[in-house]
Symmetry: C3
Subunit: 218 residues, 3 copies
Amino acid sequence: MYILIELIGIFFFAVAGSLMAARRGFDLLGSAFLGGVCGLGGGVVRDLILNQSPATFEHPVYFVPPVLAALCVYAFTPAVQKLHRLVQLFDAAGLGLFCITGTLKALENDFNPVTAVLLGVITSVGGGLMRDVISNVTPDLFNPRDIYALAAMVGAALTAVAWHLGVMNVPVGAGIAALAFAIRVASIRFSWSVPLAAGHWHRSHPATGSNDGPQRHY
Amino acid sequence: MYILIELIGIFFFAVAGSLMAARRGFDLLGSAFLGGVCGLGGGVVRDLILNQSPATFEHPVYFVPPVLAALCVYAFTPAVQKLHRLVQLFDAAGLGLFCITGTLKALENDFNPVTAVLLGVITSVGGGLMRDVISNVTPDLFNPRDIYALAAMVGAALTAVAWHLGVMNVPVGAGIAALAFAIRVASIRFSWSVPLAAGHWHRSHPATGSNDGPQRHY
Amino acid sequence: MYILIELIGIFFFAVAGSLMAARRGFDLLGSAFLGGVCGLGGGVVRDLILNQSPATFEHPVYFVPPVLAALCVYAFTPAVQKLHRLVQLFDAAGLGLFCITGTLKALENDFNPVTAVLLGVITSVGGGLMRDVISNVTPDLFNPRDIYALAAMVGAALTAVAWHLGVMNVPVGAGIAALAFAIRVASIRFSWSVPLAAGHWHRSHPATGSNDGPQRHY
């Protein structure tokens, strides 16, 4: 179950990465690389934090999904205006699966529940964060217009509870993944959002906030 | 002493991270996350380099400061035009404390003084660098208008000397931290600066330098 | 041979990093830091993935090349319009050497050939990727106008083959490095390129693609 869920989650994230590469006008190899970073990055960070040699680099099979993803995106390039939404959709699917695998792996390594949930969140948001950072765009993670980390946190918390109750199995996992995915997608569709970091500002602020950043320095 | 200094330093960096989140218009969870990255990132990198499981993920207490910081920034949002200065101020406070803890931890792990000082610098600039990179702004670390890494380097070097002389204790540490903090803040106030990477250019160059970057590629 | 090649490769990458610092208007310390990240980053990531304490931090000698590079760039600052080309040239030289050392180190650690080649590629593109990411520019790695990762991949693959045939020695290594370097440089000169991630788009797209990124979010 474990490896399979991981591979599927990696594929979803890899597609999100390759779609980002398409959106940013990168080439096919960059697409496979970005898909790999997006699909495998979160897990590698998790394993480094668990002080283990990343599983990713022990089974070459982990590198198949990113290559497949890059080829799929190359073959079926969607219309450019759809790209951002599609990145978010596949990203959400990966998010749902990774918040489970990340949390479980931490719990199996005897981490306390709090840390396990945080590692689950890191595993599930890490890949997408790296994708956005190395693509030089403001991370989706920080978009104040919808819910991202919260969806992963809910999924990770439910996973920790289910694991402690000893009721963690495929259907339960599938349900948790579906819930996290649903929260993320619904938040985009219905503009649910978390309050801004800056309590009382007007929502229109981010636009400027996001652009005056680099200029501010010089 | 050690843990306490770390927690205080983490809080200062976390506030800097959450203020950056406010400045960039991110949401409250993004604020806690960015505060966590800024406050804990440097230490995690240091521990990974020391090939240890990051202390951060063994004591959940390390995650309290970022949450507190995000709530403080949410509750007492400063005026937007003050944000950049405040980020720099709290960042400087964290810098002063982390250049000590980072260097000490490396020395206690039998690293040679040169490497220990470098690890101290990496620990103290790492969090702020990650904050700026994932916020998609040009890192403060590279701002040619003031002194950043040099302040951390002075603090780390003095720490290494004090440690080798066996006179490292709370007051000495406090003095070193205060000095590093003072150098950083004074350099911003009085525009002290290190020479540019490009020897003979006019100081007005950076403005263009910082903007033609991304465009250059395509 | 091994250490020497690494040091030379580190110097080339460090010069590329310091030139980028000059191009972006950073200061001298930022130049040494960026050179260090560019020259040592790939190797550190490789060692972390190999779950080893990074060699970089055990021999202070590794920090000499970045300091030298920063001083060279400071002393002989080229004309600004030449900077981007020079960054690419030194980057290509480092690429040629690192795709060999990275692959060999992975093979010596009993990694399977596929993973070893990938680690070689990661080692050789990692430093430049970090340089571009923390300089807040779109990574050269993703530039669709020339060949980057493919050159490293060819070098890494040939290294793996030579190692398995037991014919890996200095001249062979030099030949492989020269080939990878030549592919990279020729691709820039003659605009060889890999197909775009998005199959059927017009090559003029990237320009917009690279700029609408950040704005897209808010």
